[in-house]
Amino acid sequence: MNPPPLRRWLATPAFRALLALAFVVAIGCAFNAGGAFFHWSTHRDMLRQVSVYGILACGMTLVIISGGIDLSVGSIVGLCAVLFARETLHEGQPALAALGLVLAAGAAIGLASGTLVARFRLQPFVATLAMMVFARGLAKWVSGGQKISQAIQHPDGSFSYVDLPAIFQRLDHRILGGNLSVVTLVFLGCVLLSWLVLEKLRYGRYIYATGGNEEAARLSGVPVARTKLLAYGLSGLFGAVGGICQAVQEQQGDPEAGSTYELTAIAIAVIGGNNLMGGRGGIGLTLLGALTIGTLEKILSINAVGESSRLMLTGAIIVAAVLLQRRRAG
């Protein structure tokens, strides 16, 4: 009656996510842009470029499994990028103090979304849509609508320049003989943290139960409201980490940074096989999803595909990859 173990494994979401990745890699091998696809440096750059999206996707995964969605993370990237740039470049704060402040700000925005969802029972889409708009406004208010860079404009119109603090180089840097970017490590750290929460902690189980059947969870004594607060709070925190990485890569704080990143983060989670209905999925799937999206983008860029075709192809390939993963009916 029961399928053999191999067949069962072939039906798992993890295998299907791997299949989607293999599919994209195969495309890369076919269109290798004169062998560029076979160089590690191509993949190293891919990993660096996908890292900020991947970091956001970690938080998105937690929220999606809890049965929600977080549209505010792109705006949190913008807010935290300008906050970080202002504190380090203009205010001259020590790096650790700036990091602490920015992470706290991101977590606070996430907790605010969580409060709207858990206590005031707003639909996650609506609550985080409002937070997305609000946080973008906050980013512009903090920065005065300007990019915050090394150039400081004085009231008399003259400019002076500040040195880039060491934290910028330290985070936007490569290790292991130039083979791995630090932001990629930060991304993998976020994956690890999410994995620990989801798989090892009681609260991780609460996240799955809440997303799977909220009423059953509540009646089983699961603190549903606190669980949602945690998921959105962590999503905000990861948004702040993404904002910091964005700022060090751009060497400035752009209040427009991170626009539409929330959509890429959702795409990564979905292409990995996480179910938007909540209750199932995992961070490993999100990692595979990030690699799939990153590789895809890289293939399109090394083949010098124009932006218009690139967007259309990306949309088509997302659909293809998700169809590939869909379980057969029954």
Partner: protein, 519 residues
């Protein structure tokens, strides 16, 4: 000899590598009620879904009045005169009763573009009159979601009949109906039979089988076991067909004689649950009971009598809104939240397994430990070995049939799903267990297992409050039975004085049975 309406010939079906149906043949005559029986997982629902055009890749043939047909969509099956009332209702809660009834074939004007509102209303009203559903035009315009489950069930039937179906399939239509509503449904079935409709009827309830059946077909493990006229198929034979063995006789002998035990595990005085809508009469106005350790107290009540509200209130699902005094094992207890109740030794199995019991996407193991997670995660960190041990112990104790503790709980059969939810509550080591419809949607084999488990638990000292809409079940399991009517106790019976008639009369509001609880 009545005309043959329908013949299913050698139907087979695979889900992936799993064979769920194997060469099943069933036929249906005009004016016949044909019972399809079998344990959960026997393949009844799959067979119905093939007939309804939901599953389209199957083996074998379907003949409609001698002509082979093959439905590609549910709509095609509908147009051919086959209507199915599924276990899970197919109503859209946010749409009005009227729109639901005519969904998919709204009467249209102007070449099919504009809805004919007036015609739609007239037809729906006529239909409801035929079903003796006293809906006004205003009721028809209300969203279905505002009505209780029992009314929804009748709306679902109205929807099926709006198709002028010749063949009607009912998949456990009475599982959420009160006794009076069941009677109404059976009157309707009689009328349909007289008009020459053929009805395929799936049920787990013995009394229903023998009330309506002309013929009975039994499936087991996806195979046809036998077909017989109802008169030639007495209960023992039917049960043997269904489970493939003689069922151990249900013993009424209990481990503990009533009144013998010592301490009261649960003591409730003057309990009051307010109505969710302020200003309406309380859902439970004044409820008192004392349940001894090892005792089962049954609560009989028709739909809407307040049993669910009583349990939800006691368990703290409404928060700290209830009045009166409650003691658990001699300690004062105030319902506040499910978490607090679990900690105080109270557990609550809800009637709605899918909606509020099982987390279908989670594994069996994670479901079993869900309500007792703090014990397997000291310091907030899960201990896989502790968790596995808990789940394995419960799976063995409750004889849950599964491939692996890691398989999603939703993939188990109904009876085993129910055992998983029971296991979850047992893992909390309750002193008092509130059971609401513990055998709803559960096959006969699992039912008798659940009965003997309950006996095991009570002999270990657990106290049980039991709500069941099946009187035989209440009579079998309870030491005492309370009748609940409109939120108040209207009768209390010791086991030796309880008869179905007396309980029902009290549950309907008077010893003479003059009134009737409304849904």
């Amino acid at each position: 000899m009545a005309d043959r309406l329908l013949a299913l010939r050698r139907i087979g079906k695979l889900f992936g590598p799993n064979r769920v149906l194997d060469g099943v043949s069933v036929d249906l005559n005009e004016g016949e009620v044909h019972i399809l029986a079998g344990e959960n997982g026997a393949g009844k629902t799959t067979l119905i879904k093939i007939l309804a055009g939901i599953h389209t890749d199957y083996e074998g043939t379907i003949e409609l009045r001698g002509r082979p047909v093959r439905f590609a969509t549910p709509h095609e099956a509908n147009r051919a005169g086959i209507s199915v009332i599924h276990q899970e209702l197919s109503l859209i809660d946010t749409m009005s009763v009227m729109d639901n009834i005519s969904l998919g074939r709204e009467p249209a004007l102007g070449g099919g573009v504009w809805l004919d509102r007036r015609g739609q209303e007239d037809r729906a009203l006529a239909l409801c009159r035929r079903l003796s559903l006293d809906f006004s035009a205003a009721d028809l315009a209300r969203p279905v979601g505002q009505f209780p489950l029992s009314i929804k069930n009748l709306v679902e039937i109205a929807k099926a009949l709006a198709f002028d179906a010749r063949i009607l399939v009912m998949d456990e239509p009475t599982s959420a109906l009160s006794r009076a509503e069941v009677d109404r449904l059976f009157t309707l079935i009689e009328a349909l039979r007289a008009r020459g409709c053929g009805i395929i009827y799936i049920t787990h309830k013995m009394e229903e089988i023998y009330r309506v059946a002309d013929r009975i077909t039994v499936l087991r493990d996806g195979r046809w076991v036998g077909t017989a006229p109802a008169d030639d198929c007495p209960e023992p034979k039917l049960i043997q067909w269904m489970i493939g063995r003689e069922l151990a006789l249900q013993s009424r002998q209990r481990a503990r004689a009533p009144g013998e035990a010592g301490r009261a595990a649960l003591e409730i005085r003057g309990f009051r649950v307010p109505h969710p809508v302020p200003g309406r009469p309380a859902a439970i106005s004044d409820f008192s009971v004392s349940v001894q350790a090892g005792e089962v107290v049954g609560i009989a009540g028709l739909q809407g009598s307040g049993g669910t509200e009583l349990f939800q209130g006691l368990f703290g699902a409404y928060g700290a809104v209830c009045g009166g005094s409650v003691m658990i094992n001699g300690k004062p207890f105030r319902p506040e939240s499910p978490a607090r109740s679990i900690g105080s030794g109270l557990s609550y199995l809800t009637a709605d397994r899918k909606g509020s019991g099982l987390v279908a996407a989670m594994s069996v193991e994670h479901n079993v430990t869900l309500a007792s997670l703090p014990r397997v995660s000291p310091g907030g960190v899960l201990r896989p070995r502790l968790e596995r041990a808990s789940a394995a112990r419960q799976a063995a104790a409750l004889n849950i049939r599964l491939t692996s503790l890691d398989q999603p709980a939703g993939t188990l059969s109904g009876g085993n799903q129910q055992k998983v939810v029971l296991a979850k509550w047992l893992e909390t080591r309750p002193a008092v267990l509130l059971l609401e419809e513990p055998t709803r949607g559960v096959d006969i084999g699992a039912k008798s297992e659940i009965y003997s488990l309950m006996r095991q638990w009570t002999s270990a000292g657990m106290a049980i409050l039991l709500i069941s809409s099946e009187l035989p079940e209440l009579l079998l399991l309870s030491d005492r039975i309370l009748a609940l009517h409109r939120g108040a106790v209207t009768g209390e019976f010791r086991r030796d004085e309880a008869t179905p008639e007396r309980i029902l009369a009290a549950a309907m509001g008077s010893p003479e049975g003059q009134g009737e609880a409304c849904a």
